[in-house]
């Protein structure tokens, strides 16, 4: 059982009280507990069970403009006493920073809306096993499948965020996640692919059979890939890859990258950085949303932001510290975005595939090839050659490269947005990128 609000609140107020007694002028604390249970299957048999019960506390103390923090998984009072004393001592010895402070009181969230983020349902391990049996059965139909590994996780979490400005709030969240990784083999090659579903409520989770079938099909179609030559070609990013490009955009507009001057999007507010029709939203109040929240990790209320309107950048993602440095108010984005997405484009997935006589459809990228200082992008990729709207054959051992500044200006989006992750994009086409192959 995940710890209740009363337990977490008691710990939080103990810490705030002790910090004050030891000389902190202000302080904030987060206490959280997360209990998760996972069952893994391999080749239609039980492979692993894993139960975790994680407690955590993190405390930040201020003395005027001096700041330091500690965190621990040991919540016994004895240990907290030692750590908070250590924290206050470290605070005294840390140099002042004029921008250090708790959030402005008037920006703190006043109410906690019920966004339906917690499902009380408990899925026993036997039920998880049933789900996985069904999944792996559906995934193992084809003889080319040589290995299946699937997993079901139930997670229940609870937290309290409190500070010396009187803020004290928190709530429970839950998630149910199923995934399947498949390996298929033919004479020429061995390939791997996966499918995944994660929801706040168990009843919304994808059907086990469908998930298994999907994972298997996506793997089999990758067999016997070819390597193509180097050329400039239109790239179509599958939704699961396109969302990564949106995440890179989010890190480039974080107030810390902007205030440090280490982003290629610095000073670009009110400038056109995407193609005309592109809109980007960060909407924290989606019911059952995987990224939904009432306030950020500092307690600042989070409202919906239209980050990009008709291609024009409208906001950075601002926290208290970097906001003060930039002379801007926090918009509740400490810790990043909530439910971030591109609005749908105007054409269907099919029309997007058809829009070029030849293009590359990318289903997986590997490597950490995004540089937010320069905007340079270069990653390894796997996918398919598309000719006249048809998937011709699988491709691997290639790289795709470009610079985000140009790539953003050449985006076309399909109208197939779905909310599968916390960050989501419709299928995306970018023109003008370079493929390196043979």
């Amino acid at each position: 059982m995940v710890k209740d609000q009363e337990f977490l609140e008691k710990k939080a107020s103990y810490c705030l009280g002790l910090a004050k007694k030891l000389g902190a002028t202000e302080s904030s604390v987060i206490v959280n507990n997360s209990v998760s249970e996972t069952v893994n299957f391999r080749n239609k048999k039980l492979d692993e069970s894993n139960r975790s019960d994680d407690l955590g506390i993190s405390i930040t103390t201020y003395i005027g403009k001096k700041k330091s923090s500690i965190s621990s998984s040991n919540l016994l009072d004895d240990n907290l006493n030692i750590l908070i004393e250590k924290c206050v001592e470290a605070t005294k010895n840390t140099p002042e920073d004029e921008f250090n402070s708790l959030p402005d009181k008037d920006l703190l969230a006043k109410e906690v809306k019920d966004l339906s983020l917690y499902d009380d349902t408990h899925i026993e391990n036997d039920q998880k096993i049933d789900y996985l049996k069904k999944l792996e059965l559906a995934a193992s139909n084809d003889k080319k499948i040589v290995n299946t590994e699937s997993s079901f996780t139930q997670n229940k979490s609870n937290f309290i965020l409190a500070n010396t400005e009187g803020f004290c709030a928190g709530y429970k969240t839950s998630s149910f996640t199923a995934s399947s990784v498949i390996v298929a083999k033919d004479e020429k090659s061995m390939e791997r692919d996966y499918e995944y579903s994660s929801k706040c409520f168990f009843k919304d989770l994808d059907d086990a059979g469908e998930l298994g079938k999907q994972a298997a099909n996506q793997t089999i179609r990758k067999l016997s890939p070819k390597k193509i030559g180097s050329e400039k070609i239109a790239i179509i990013f599958d939704k699961r890859i396109a969302k990564g490009i949106l995440s890179t955009f989010a890190s480039a507009i974080s107030s810390s990258a902007i205030s440090r001057g280490t982003s290629f999007l610095k000073d670009k507010v009110n400038q056109k950085i995407f193609s005309d029709s592109i809109n980007v939203l960060d909407k924290p109040d989606i019911i059952k949303g995987l990224g939904s929240r009432n306030f950020d990790k500092e307690g600042v209320k989070t409202d919906t932001l239209k980050l990009v309107e008709q291609g024009v950048l409208k906001h950075y993602l601002i926290d208290t510290y970097n906001g003060k440095k930039l002379n801007l108010k926090s918009n509740g984005r400490f810790g990043g975005t909530s439910n971030l997405y591109f609005e749908n484009g105007n054409i269907s997935f099919k029309d997007l595939l058809n829009s070029k006589s030849k293009s590359l459809y990318i289903t997986e990228t590997i490597g950490h090839g995004s540089n937010i200082v320069t905007g340079d992008y270069s990653v390894g990729a796997t996918g398919f050659l598309v000719e006249n709207g048809e998937f011709k054959y699988p491709i691997n051992e290639i790289t795709i490269a470009g610079n985000f500044k140009d790539m953003f200006q050449h985006i076309t989006l399909a109208n197939d947005l779905e909310f599968k992750y916390a960050t989501n994009s419709p299928t995306m086409m970018i023109e003008g990128m370079v493929v390196a192959g043979k």
Binding site: D53, R192, R260, T262, T374, V434
Partner: protein
Amino acid sequence: MLSMNNFFEKSDISRSEAENIVSDTLSKCDDGELYLENTKSETLLLDDNKIKNSSYNSDLGFGFRAISDEIVAYSHSNEISKNSLRQSSENLKSTLKSVKGTYNHEIPKSNKKYYDNINPIEQKSLNEKIKILNEVNNYLRSKDNNIKQVTANFLGEQKSVEIIRSGGESLTDVRPLIRFNVSVMLEKNGRKESGVYGVGGRQSYDFYLKDENWKSVCDEALRIASVNLESKPAPAGEMKVVLGPGWPAILIHEAVGHGLEGDFNRKKTSAFHNLMGQKVASEGVTIVDDGTIDNRRGSLTIDDEGTPTEKTVLIENGILKNFMQDRLNARLMKTRSTGSGRRENYRHIVLPRMRNTMMLSGNQTQDEMIKAVDKGIFAVSFGGGQVDITSGKFVFNCTEAYEIVNGKIGSPIKGATLIGDGPSSLKEVSMVGNDMMMDPGIGTCGKAGQGVPVGVAQPSILINKMTVGGTKL
């Protein structure tokens, strides 16, 4: 063992009670243990001319594992108490309902230690560390007017572990680890580029910082950023690649290292699973994974199952010789553990992982390699890599590289991703240098969501054919 953590000191459960629960839970299992861990760590960060972060973390917990045949049951918690340990025991028993195994008590012993029992955090005061970070900032900013940003940080850690096996056998280790990193950003004529460098290992801060050693770390970060400021677009396509010694051995880690981990080969999902005893690299290529080098980031006295580490020969003169094994995969593949069972912390199960992965020296020189290339690139520094162990395709991202034209090093080129095929790329190695070098000690390897500290090493090598992911056609 004076400084060893007593995990039961402030708990309502005594050591002998805990031992009894362990023995009772594992009685009919093939293997398993109670793993206890206490980690103290600190982070100090200077950024944008200020001390941005000073934080301290204390993490305590246990992970209880029971194994029967291929099935692993695991349960972990932060609370070392009677209640919590009993609950974990019940969880494990409910997964492994009707087991009939025989517990394997055998575990090799060794008296060798590869690092000292120290707590690096306590060896230097907060004020001293802050002073050095400020000196780093002032030193760099006074060196070059184009410097727009300096970030420097210290990470220090002491991890105490105890492994209690069925029957009460206890194995312990205390592991120090530190890391010092510097990153600079330059801006010139509207163009921005950055450079990063760091050092670290399992010894005290002073070893790395004495005699103003930190200056050489600053100089290197600044040098890389300055080179990149003059870089032009990287080429796209297949070409010859010369890799410098040391850190570029990320290639070895990605191209063959992961594919030779026992779990993927037991499951036959690695591109290498059916290549044991076969030629997987050019003659002259020997690769080892070594956990026994004093004070290195990837070294361990014992692994996280209690097995002493060793120097495991993976590829000898081009022939595949061994996989890296933990106890589970070793038992199922009827071989022995190579002391490669590792976990990020008590929250995670053990997996076979790399330690310090090294390609040994040959007898050619870097000069000979450069001269042998008409058109290609010379890659000196890398940011990281990744591999798909099933297809064998791997990438690594270079952060400092130059073009080679007609046997001579030319202009610097922008960072790019290089992609290759693990089982075939080491057959394309046509020269192995005589200049093997260890990396500076900052590597972290990720697998199944778990990060563990690792090392790499290699001499300069010439690869006949790799795909370079630039933008210039």
